[in-house]
């Protein structure tokens, strides 16, 4: 076998698997989205029909809030951990990154243990204020779950970016009389911008499409993945759920692609 045909031969198994079980099904999904009673207009329902539009806005707001808060929290913690050496630092980093491998369902359960009916927060608030705070099964619980999911990922990216910063620039700014706050604002944060975009896009796309956490917390939280799920399984509304998931897939893919062109690094969502 010649070298050239061997290379093609090497590519063959992957090509077969990807075509049969990804490209063809995705094509089928796109076609199915237009097979409803409204045909191609089914694709516009996500924007024109009030109920779907409200869910879309809800999901985008939740994902945006998750992204902003995660970035703030992860930047403060990540910068601190990368810039200081102290006993117990390695343990602290391990604690902050070990939830990386938790699937969404487990994250949902963590939130139930924190803010559920038998949760820690309810228990504490009951002792202090005589009232049980239970919010795990609402959109606030979901928000907390997405924070739990995103913080470890974003902290890792921020720490790697802080490590690459040129400390000489900060010293130069300080020697020119800039206050510590001005150094952060004008030197450090702009240099971290690509890391913010890359990790923020992942957090946003993940929060848009994540299903496990919402599924564990409640079936009636009004977010896009739950809507797709109920349309498909309970209403057996295949065309609508296909159109909605194509729309959702397009949104998350677009955000990640945009972030990649801006930050120049590989960006992918996690599940």
């Amino acid at each position: 076998m010649s070298q050239k045909s061997f290379v093609w031969f090497c590519l063959l198994p992957l090509a077969v698997v990807t075509t049969a079980f990804f490209l063809l099904p995705m094509a089928r999904l796109v076609v199915a989205g237009a097979e409803g009673p409204h045909g191609l207009a089914g694709y516009l329902a996500i924007l024109t029909e009030g109920r779907y539009r409200a869910t879309l806005i809800n999901t985008v707001l939740l994902a945006a809030a998750t992204t902003v808060v995660t970035l703030i929290v992860a930047t403060i913690a990540g910068m601190f951990l990368q810039r200081h050496r102290f006993p117990g630092r390695a343990v602290l980093i391990a604690m902050l990154t070990f939830p990386l491998a938790f699937p969404g369902v487990v994250v949902g359960f963590m939130i139930i243990l924190l803010a559920g009916r038998q949760g820690l927060i309810g228990d504490l608030s009951n002792r202090i204020f005589g009232e049980k705070f239970v919010f795990a099964y609402s959109i606030y619980g979901l928000f907390l779950g997405y924070l739990y999911f995103s913080i470890p990922r974003v902290i890792l990216t921020i720490m790697a970016a802080v490590q690459k910063l040129d400390i000489g620039l900060e010293e130069a700014a300080r020697s020119l009389g800039a206050s510590p706050w001005a150094v952060q604002r004008d030197v450090v944060l702009p240099a971290l911008a690509p890391a913010f975009v890359a990790s923020g896009a992942i957090a946003f796309a993940t929060a848009m499409g994540a299903f496990g956490t919402a599924f564990t917390l409640a079936t009636n939280i009004d977010v896009l993945p739950m809507l797709i799920y109920t349309e498909f399984t309970l209403a057996a509304n295949f065309a609508t759920s296909a159109a909605l998931s194509v729309g959702l897939g397009l949104i998350t893919w677009l955000i990640l692609a945009l972030a990649r062109t801006f930050s120049g690094s590989a960006v992918a969502a996690a599940g």
């Binding site: 090509a15 601190f80 070990f98």
Partner: protein
């Protein structure tokens, strides 16, 4: 003085974030071995919940391992040669292929699962077997294997090694087995750990693809969260932690070793 204050403030903040992540996991572990969580750990320590989980859900744990290793086998057989082909061929075609196989990371698992259901849901035998879940896991984890191996090819000068072996008369197949694979080993190992970890914890796709007879561990977890008492759900989560933590530690050790070289 001022620096001291800022340091302390940041430390407290970071500790609080760590507590947010670790405290619920700790609660879950302790609840899994507590006789009665409502009365607290004073009620006694027991393994009865772990035993009960094993009675109820041993099948899901077993099936998860079967699917994880089958996924690993397929991603190895299809992914490693493909990474080699994509690296040596290069050019726009290789970039497009890489882009396509990476798409499942950008598209929510729910959408991919719906696509698979619409395309293959009517093939009853296939739909009802665990192979249906396997297919979803392969699509989802393949990019991690391919990219992890390609990352090694980018640092080791495989091309020169390959050409050297070719000039000595080694056949392409021989070169792949004796030159390419040994050199790609660190990437293959890192990719393999990632594939197994992701497959064991995959829920978004699996929930849509499973049947009552093909439940994996995360499906069982969701089931126990919805219908079992808190102690049983916690014990099940504890079993999941015990399975997943060695994989995470191995991944970290591997990354550290690569870092030092």
């Amino acid at each position: 003085m001022r620096d001291r204050l800022i340091f302390t403030g940041q430390l407290i903040f970071t500790l609080l974030v760590a507590a947010f992540l670790v405290v619920p996991a700790g609660l879950s572990i302790s609840a899994g071995v507590t006789v009665n969580y409502f009365r607290g750990i004073q009620s006694g320590v027991t393994l009865q919940w772990v035993a009960q989980v094993w009675d109820l859900y041993a099948g899901t744990i077993l099936l998860s391992f079967v699917i994880a290793f089958a996924t690993l086998a397929v991603t190895l057989l299809a992914g490693v040669p493909a990474a080699y082909a994509l690296h040596t061929r290069g050019g726009p075609l290789a970039r497009i292929v890489e882009e396509i196989i990476t798409l499942p990371l950008a598209i929510p698992g729910l959408a991919i699962a719906l696509a698979l259901l619409l395309a293959y849901g009517s093939f009853g035998g296939f739909r009802r077997s665990w192979l249906f879940i396997l297919v979803g896991h392969v699509i989802f984890t393949m990019p991690f294997m391919v990219r992890s191996v390609m990352a090694v090819f980018a640092t080791v000068d495989v091309k020169t090694l390959d050409e050297g072996a070719a000039s000595l008369g080694a056949s392409p197949w021989r070169r792949f087995c004796d030159v390419i694979v040994p050199n790609a080993l660190p990437g293959i190992l890192a990719g393999a750990l990632m594939v197994v970890t992701l497959s064991l914890g995959e829920f978004n796709l699996t929930w849509m693809l499973h049947t009552p007879l093909t439940k994996t561990l995360p499906i069982g977890l969701a089931d126990s969260y919805a219908s079992m008492r808190l102690e049983v759900a916690s014990a099940y989560t504890l079993i999941f932690f015990v399975m997943i933590i060695p994989l995470l530690v191995a991944m970290q050790l591997l990354a550290d070793r690569d870092h030092k070289r």
